[in-house]
């Protein structure tokens, strides 16, 4: 028996639509996989969640979270030192993101049967690894892979721009008493800031000390004689004359090439301290500071 072509076409359409609907259901189910109500105590991971399209699942953030703007409307549940367990539980999370050192909080969450994701903070590699891990856990591996690829592409582009340029010996200052040269802490040869500096075409003068931060005396800075001093401030830029006053604080160490040649550069921004997806922005700021001609605005 031969089925007329019109009927055949109708059947085929029916089968395809059923298949399509099934496929849609499966993808939808996949998208709904994994934790749906996430409380993040770690700002860098909050940013990662938004970068891998899981931002809508975040129901609570730490008191230090300021990015992306969506977090402004979310409930705050304390931070590293003062996590508010009661508020966390009241948000009925099915995943809580904590710092590695918050062992008490983890014990309490364990008792409540709430899964925990622990932050491991460190190099640039940790940023991409964490994004992939989160992607797998939340069922958004594709989006995570895409975000990681974009992140790595951005970094590679910056690396490419500065590759053949001479690498200035750079002092990366991460803290200092305002208006003076006291209590100067700098980046050692470990951590994402050191990695970003390296990638942006600068040689960290304290690379040999494998620590994220160390306190150094003015003698050490004079002895290392950096060509550039990059100083990070985690606030929004203040008035220009205030920035200039802070730059002038370095003046007594005029024997340091960076000071003598006006290469003391102050960078401002909350993202400088966050080892998350916006590290590309920091890398670009570093590269522009070290190689202004190679990295246009």
């Amino acid at each position: 028996m031969l089925i007329p072509p019109a009927q055949m076409l109708r059947r085929l359409t029916a089968v395809t639509s059923i298949l399509a609907a099934l496929l849609l259901l499966v993808t939808a189910a996949r998208a709904q996989q994994g934790p749906q109500r996430i409380v993040s105590l770690v700002p860098s991971i909050t940013e990662m969640l938004f970068a891998i399209d899981a931002g809508s699942r975040v129901v609570g953030v730490s008191s230090y979270d300021h990015f992306p703007p969506e977090v402004d409307n979310l409930p705050r549940v304390g931070a590293l030192m003062d996590p508010d367990v009661e508020r966390i539980l009241s948000l009925r999370p099915d995943l809580v993101i904590t710092y590695g050192s918050q062992t008490d909080l983890r014990t309490q969450l364990d008792r409540a049967g709430i899964p925990v994701f622990q932050d491991r903070h460190g190099s640039i590699g940790h940023i991409t690894d964490t994004m992939k891990e989160l992607g797998a856990r939340l069922g958004v591996s594709t989006q995570a892979a895409r975000a990681v690829a974009a992140f790595e592409r951005d970094l590679a582009a910056i690396r490419g721009r500065v590759k053949r340029r001479p690498r200035p010996r750079t002092l990366l200052v991460i803290g200092r008493e305002p208006q003076s040269l006291r209590a100067i802490s700098v980046s050692g040869g470990y951590g994402f800031l050191h990695d970003l500096l390296d990638l942006a075409g600068g040689d960290n003068v304290f690379a040999s000390v494998t620590r994220e931060s160390l306190l150094v005396s003015t003698e050490e800075i004079l002895a290392k004689a950096p060509d550039v001093i990059l100083e990070l401030h985690y606030s929004e830029p203040p008035a220009p004359q205030l920035i200039e006053r802070e730059r002038q604080a370095w003046k007594p160490l005029s024997a340091v090439p960076a000071v003598r040649n006006g290469k003391v550069i102050l960078l401002f921004g909350g993202e400088l301290v966050v080892p998350g997806p916006r590290a590309t922005k920091t890398a670009r700021a570093f590269a522009r500071a070290l190689h202004p001609e190679a990295v246009p605005r």
Partner: protein, 334 residues
């Protein structure tokens, strides 16, 4: 009497030489090798002379600041131990350092980006904080007493200490992590002043206290035995107590705002000196100041060399050296 004068001259000479050698010797030591011919070579511009800058900016001010802080803290310790008639009294017993610390914490947390004559807001705020503590303790010691009660002084000081410490923790708790770290660092003591302005700012206050310290010792000798006996011998007890309290407090405030609350100097140095020179304050006071200066200068050399290129907070060194040493003294003396 001539005997005391002879001992004073002898010990002052001995300890003075020690302190002098420490201050002169400290800038010669460091983690970087510098060319001393170039340090004093006037044909090279100072602005371009690394060796001279390491010597005159990084090392010499540190040695001078250490000497000033060490001397004032040790002398203040002697005075307070006599005033309170308590061998365990330190310059920090009466809450002066906690007041200074609270001032510094507030300046750090409120991000006061000011400076005056090369002295930062943190230094200024800590000195103001120490004065506030002094005023409170003094007001309490004077209230409801005819004269000046050293018992109330001690209790008020100790209570104020823990009250301010709680406030410090509160301020720290509210601060950003990076600020909390900086406040913690401040509490460990730091003598890398990178210039002479902070030293010059502390010097007049230390000098005023020093003048009082010259006048005090004979009365302290009588006072440390018995206040009533001192009064019968014509000592104006309240006046002496007031001068002792204010001079020691101002000295401590100046020292703490310059170098942070560096512990143990105000207690181990006076006891060590007493072991060597006896109990007469006319000798103990100047000798302690000189030994305190030498001791802190040496500790600061360790601070900048032991873990180089990392700086080891000097307060940790004085505690590591001072703690066990003091316990040894305690056990040995019985």
């Amino acid at each position: 009497m001539p005997d005391v004068r002879r001992r004073l001259v002898l010990w002052t000479l001995a300890f003075g030489t020690l302190a002098f050698l420490a201050v002169i010797g400290a800038p010669l030591v460091g983690t970087t090798r510098i060319d001393f011919a170039r340090v004093f070579d006037r044909s090279v511009r100072f602005a371009d002379n690394v060796d001279a800058q390491i010597f005159f900016i990084a090392r010499l001010p540190r040695a001078l600041a250490a000497a000033l802080v060490g001397a004032t803290l040790a002398a203040a310790g002697v005075v307070l131990q006599a005033l309170l008639r308590n061998p365990l009294a330190t310059p920090f017993t009466l809450g002066v350092s906690a007041g200074a610390a609270l001032g510094a914490m507030l300046a750090i947390s409120l991000r006061l980006h000011l400076s005056l004559w090369g002295v930062s807001a943190i230094t200024g705020a800590s000195f103001v904080g120490s004065l506030v503590a002094v005023a409170i303790v003094y007001a309490l010691a004077r209230a409801r007493h005819q004269g000046f009660s050293t018992n109330v002084l001690l209790l008020a000081g100790v209570t104020l200490n823990s009250f301010f410490s709680a406030l410090i923790l509160f301020v720290q708790y509210l601060a950003d992590p990076s600020e909390a770290l900086r406040t913690m660092r401040w509490l460990m003591g730091d003598l890398d002043v990178a210039g002479y302005a902070p030293i010059l700012a502390a010097l007049p206050l230390a000098a005023i206290a020093g003048a009082a310290f010259v006048w005090l010792p004979r009365s302290l000798n009588l006072l440390s035995l018995d206040a009533d006996a001192a009064a019968t011998r014509g000592v104006n007890v309240v006046r002496v107590q007031q001068v002792a309290f204010f001079s020691a407090s101002v000295a401590t405030g100046a020292a703490v705002s310059l170098g942070g609350p560096i512990g143990f100097i105000g207690i181990i140095v006076p006891h060590l000196v007493r072991l060597m020179v006896g109990a007469d304050h006319r000798v103990v006071l100047p000798a302690s100041a000189l030994v305190g200066a030498a001791f802190l200068v040496v500790c600061d050399v360790l601070a900048r060399t032991v873990m180089a290129p990392q700086e080891l907070p000097v307060g940790i060194i004085t505690a590591l050296v001072g703690g066990p040493f003091f316990l040894w003294l305690l056990v040995r003396q019985k």
